[in-house]
């Protein structure tokens, strides 16, 4: 497959608002992204606007406040998808096609049961929650993340384990939680399945509290994948740092502002994989 043949569905509804930068991230790597409204996938529009999920190679759920997030973040978008697109979604994921959700997209994947999905493709009920930040505030701030995945996640194949990267975050509900009684068991199983992708750290790479971990997330977790490694969700925004000049300290570090930003590796990993595969 050539990179321009990679069709990326950047899915949105009202209130999804990070689709432009998600679109640009894939476009800059030569793939062919398209911004698609959910109604276009479920036939609720004029014939010429209709699209089919199986025609795409990657599904990307951007950040934002889908439907306003006036109930639990991501819940409404997830409910709409579940009621009208479940079958196609399951098929998409079982074919090991890549699915990425960032910020609100991560929240949607958790609400859908596509993450952490410890026992298969899609759980009937959410197995985790992305709860209100411990600070009870919206946190727009740069965060440092340590790459913790041992190789399962197809979005970080191009990134050395232990590497520390900077992705900015901007959310009010990013604190990963499990049911209290199952917390330890779930966490152990996630480790065992190699489902942990990123943890928040300080500049020395230590797990640290606020402000380094902006939301109080369980075990400092910032991003996770499903057991198969083809579905990844994370709170911070890799698509906002495709180039060094997007980094908040690029005027300090002396690196070439044109060189790759830390987020680029996420999109490169998946594009390279699809190019190699076919």
């Amino acid at each position: 497959m050539k990179s321009e043949d990679i069709k990326v569905c950047v899915l949105r509804i009202e209130g999804t608002n990070c689709e432009e930068e998600m679109f640009q991230a894939f476009r800059q790597l030569g793939a062919s992204p398209e911004k698609v409204h959910l109604k276009q996938l479920i036939g609720k529009c004029s014939v010429d606007m209709r699209r089919n999920l199986p025609d795409y190679d990657v599904l990307a759920l951007p950040g934002g406040f889908s439907a306003g997030d006036y109930v639990r973040a991501g819940a409404i978008f997830a409910a709409r998808m579940k009621s009208s697109l479940s079958k196609e979604l399951k098929a998409f994921v079982s074919k090991e096609k890549p699915v990425i959700g960032v910020c609100n997209g991560f929240q949607i994947l958790v609400e859908l049961g596509l993450l952490p999905a410890m026992d298969g493709i899609m759980s009937d009920h959410p197995q985790a929650a992305l709860y209100t930040n411990s600070s009870a505030r919206f946190e727009c701030t740069p965060t440092l993340l340590k790459h913790e995945n041992k190789g399962k996640c197809i979005f970080t194949n191009g990134m050395a384990k232990g590497k520390i990267v900077m992705f900015p975050c901007a959310h009010a509900e990013g604190k990963l939680m499990f049911e209290k009684s199952k917390e330890k068991k779930m966490l152990d199983k996630m480790e065992e399945n190699d489902q942990i992708v990123f943890r928040y750290v300080d500049p020395e790479g230590n797990y640290a509290g606020y402000p380094w971990c902006p939301n109080g997330s369980l075990s400092n977790i910032a991003g996770i994948c499903n057991p198969a490694g083809n579905v990844m969700g994370m709170m911070p925004h890799p698509e906002r740092v495709m180039y060094r000049y997007g980094h908040p300290d690029f005027t300090r570090t002396g690196e070439n502002p044109n060189s790759a930003g830390d987020g680029r590796a996420i999109f490169e990993s998946v594009v390279d994989r699809l190019v190699r595969k076919a």
């Binding site: 930068e21 529009c45 934002g64 505030r137 901007a170 908040p248 502002p257």
Partner: protein, 778 residues
């Protein structure tokens, strides 16, 4: 009296609310009573003018007509008190890069694109209902940019409140500054973050005078392909009018007339309904749909429904296209049934836009709005002749000549210019012996202290194009930025720098210099990140213009701003005036909020305020004088009077050119403008972001006393860090006074002048600067 007024309102025999207003028979006191009773806020002379007009037509106006006139003739809509000054100093500024002066100004960005800019006030609504008032302020300014066909790319929010760090006497009915600030910031956060437009710049200022008159200024910038720049007018009689977006309700009735009067204790009860309700999740898809129908060439014109609602938008769009319109008011989608025609006509319900489009495109337009589940309804058509007619339930309720409707009065009210404060009036405050104490106290002043508490609540990076962020420096140790830079186009390194310039204290001491300073400061900030100042827009917040001293301030400040902009060749393609910011305890400080836009040729060469490397030399650019009028030093330690810093616009022009050249050849590693708190505060802030100290020797500034060198707020100055080894090159490039004041190094800010003047570890400076707002706003 009451009975008499009721007799002047004649109910029509129709199954809905419609009255004829018997102006013809009304006495002068009755005219005044009518104006008050119907919430028109029109003066006696204005009421008489209306009466004359309808006498010439041999009939009385309907309530719909007279309400419509009140909207169109309000200070808010027609600038009747300020236009005379704006014409003299602002409207006559010509600039070759102005592409449009519509609801937002549009300037050339590059050969293919333009950028839109506008800032306006939402002061009165925010004083009554801070959360909703601020949110709908954002909503309104976004629509002003959107209706030029521009994608909004940044929000800018300068806010002004009463003090939050000390008790303050509040006028009856006024809410506490902390409550107002909390509500306003939350409103901006929840609306701005949801619509996905980054809040990139702004600021917060505190002063007693804002305790009864908080100011909420809201700015927006956008980017538009020149070929897709749309007018706010109909094209001709083939067009239909399509109302899109939210439904119309009873929220936001009399918003503009309310905004054109002083606030009083009873405003809360009387005018709550004037505050609109915002809905960002209607706005977000509305933006997509409006931009899509425009980029597909389906529409001829677009305009937002803001102040005055339908009553303003229909008339203005039709008249701008040299036409009239007929509107079927039954078609307007309502939030609730039973609204009177006049309420539908003047409601300022949010999230609405009007499109003018050829009839053949209606189907495709409605399909696009339908995909986003946003209402779109054809409510009328464009007709020949400059008249608007309204039908409701088949009955004509409105028939007005547009030229009369929109020809609002214009006043040359009496103004009194008071002589500015000078050196002769100066009372120098008694200062602590210890310069450390002065500096630390200033760093902790809420006007100077870090605004991180606010900044982190706003998503300033959504859209992924914010290059210089609102805070600069090492992660989690950041200091302030002077301007924010966005990169609007994915395939171009060209950027836009955005900055605010405002100094209400200078303006109250010397309105002319205060106006000039706003321009100087906006330019300084833009230059500090590597931008070339290009255009300004402004929001002029003043007290009651019917008081000659208030109007005198406005007159002088506009002159100072306009004349400085002229010398610098800066365009002012849009602007806003907000008057009557006056409570029983007095007026707000005269507040000239200038939003400056600069072109950044290559965003990769941007410079930030944080110090970078030990051993690099530090220079002070510009001239320092003993100018303390309105300064932080005087305000903090009780000084009075004094001369306000002057602006030498020619020197500013040269400084801009010199610094732009230095940054283009990448010899400057950091740069910070010198403003509130003077050189000492500027240096401290640079150390904080860079997490490194500086060694400063003031002897090069002798014979100036240390107090002047450190704390004077003379305009047109910057501190720059020059890359080691390039000092000579730098000096050769600079065509303005430059003084080498020291170098980067150590863990402290150490200042000497033949002996130590001040020394404080950077950690202490950071602590004192970073914490106040977090502690005050727990």
């Amino acid at each position: 009296m009451r009975m008499a007024i009721d007799r002047l309102l004649k109910k029509r025999d129709v199954p809905f609310h419609l009255f004829d207003v018997s102006l013809d028979k009304a006495s002068d006191p009755q005219l005044q009573e009518l104006s008050k009773d119907l919430g028109l806020n029109l003066s006696l002379d204005e009421m008489k003018r209306v009466r004359e007009h309808f006498r010439s037509l041999n009939r009385d106006p309907t309530d719909v007509e007279i309400q419509s006139l009140a909207q169109a003739w309000s200070e808010h809509c027609c600038y009747k008190s300020s236009k005379v000054f704006l014409r003299e100093h602002i409207f006559n500024i010509k600039h070759e890069d102005v592409l449009s002066k519509g609801d937002a100004g549009v300037m050339a960005f590059d050969d293919e694109y333009g950028y839109a800019l506008r800032i306006e006030s939402h002061n009165h609504p925010s004083a009554i209902e801070p959360y909703g008032g601020a949110a709908t302020g954002i909503g309104g300014i976004v629509r002003d940019v959107l209706c030029m066909g521009a994608q909004p790319i940044g929000l800018i929010d300068p806010l002004f409140f009463g003090p939050i760090d000390r008790p303050v006497e509040l006028p009856a009915g006024a809410k506490s500054p902390r409550y107002l600030m909390g509500g306003v910031v939350s409103g901006i956060r929840d609306y701005g973050n949801r619509i996905g437009i980054p809040t990139i710049a702004g600021g917060i200022w505190f002063d007693e005078s804002y305790a009864g008159n908080c100011l909420v200024n809201v700015g927006c910038i956008g980017i538009v392909k020149r070929s897709e720049l749309v007018t706010n007018a109909v094209k001709g009689t083939g067009d239909v009018l399509i109302l899109v977006g939210g439904r119309t309700g009873r929220d936001g009735i009399h918003g503009v007339t309310f905004a054109s009067a002083e606030l009083k204790a009873s405003s809360e009860d009387e005018s709550r309904g004037a505050v609109q309700l915002g809905d960002p999740i209607t706005k977000e898809p509305l933006i997509h749909a409006c931009l899509e129908v425009n980029s597909k060439g389906l529409i001829h014109g677009m305009k937002d429904l803001g102040g005055g609602g339908l009553s303003c938008v229909v008339g203005e769009m039709a008249l701008s296209g040299g036409c009239g319109a007929e509107v079927d008011m039954d078609k307007v989608p309502l939030k609730e049934s039973g609204l009177a025609p006049w309420e539908i006509w003047v409601s300022e319900s949010q999230e609405r836009m009007m499109l003018a489009a050829p009839r053949k495109n209606v189907k495709r337009i409605l399909e696009i709005f339908d995909l986003w589940d946003v209402n779109a309804t054809v409510i009328g058509k464009v007709v020949p002749g400059k008249k608007v007619k309204l039908l409701f339930d088949g009955v004509q309720v409105f028939d007005m000549d547009l030229e009369f409707l929109t020809a609002g009065p214009e006043y040359c009210r009496p103004s009194k210019v008071q002589s500015p404060q000078t050196k002769r009036t100066e009372v120098f405050p008694k200062l602590p012996m210890d310069f450390d104490k002065i500096l630390l106290k200033m760093l902790s002043d809420p006007n100077i202290a870090s605004k991180e508490w606010v900044v982190k609540q706003y998503d300033h990076e959504v859209r992924g194009s914010t290059i210089v962020k609102p805070l600069s420096g090492k992660i989690n140790l950041r200091g302030p930025s002077d301007a924010t830079v966005v990169k609007p186009l994915p395939d171009s390194y060209r950027g836009l720098a955005v900055a605010i310039g405002v100094n209400p204290w200078f303006t109250s001491h010397d309105p002319y210099r205060g106006g000039a300073t706003s321009v100087d400061e906006a330019c300084r900030n833009i230059v500090a990140v590597g931008g070339r100042p290009h255009a300004l827009t402004n929001c002029l917040n003043f007290g009651n213009p019917e008081k000659p001293e208030r109007l005198g301030e406005l007159k002088e400040a506009v002159a100072g701003m306009g004349e400085t902009a002229k010398i610098l060749n800066l365009a002012i393609p849009s602007g806003n005036v907000s008057l009557y910011n006056e409570a029983p305890t007095g007026s707000c400080l005269p507040t000239v909020t200038v939003m400056g836009l600069g072109i950044v040729e290559d965003i990769r060469k941007c410079v930030t305020t944080d110090l970078k490397r030990e051993g690099n030399a530090l220079y002070l650019v510009g001239r320092t004088k003993a100018e303390f009028g309105g300064s932080t030093l005087f305000r903090t330690f009780g000084g009075k009077g004094g001369e306000v810093p002057d602006v030498d616009a020619k020197l500013l022009q040269k400084s801009i050119t010199s610094l732009n050249a230095c940054m283009a050849s990448e010899m400057l590693r950091s740069c910070h403008d010198v403003s509130d708190g003077g050189l000492a505060v500027a240096l401290a802030e640079m150390c904080i972001g860079g997490d490194v100290g500086a060694e400063i020797d003031l002897s090069v500034m002798n014979p100036l006393p240390n107090t002047v060198s450190l704390f004077s707020e003379s305009n047109t100055r910057w501190v720059v860090e020059v890359e080691k080894g390039r000092e000579k090159e730098f000096l050769d490039r600079m065509a303005v006074p430059v003084t080498r004041i020291g170098q980067v190094g150590g863990n402290s800010l150490a200042i000497s002048n033949e002996g130590l003047v001040l020394e404080k570890p950077v950690d202490v400076l950071r602590e004192r600067w970073s914490k106040p707002l977090w502690e005050l706003l727990v």
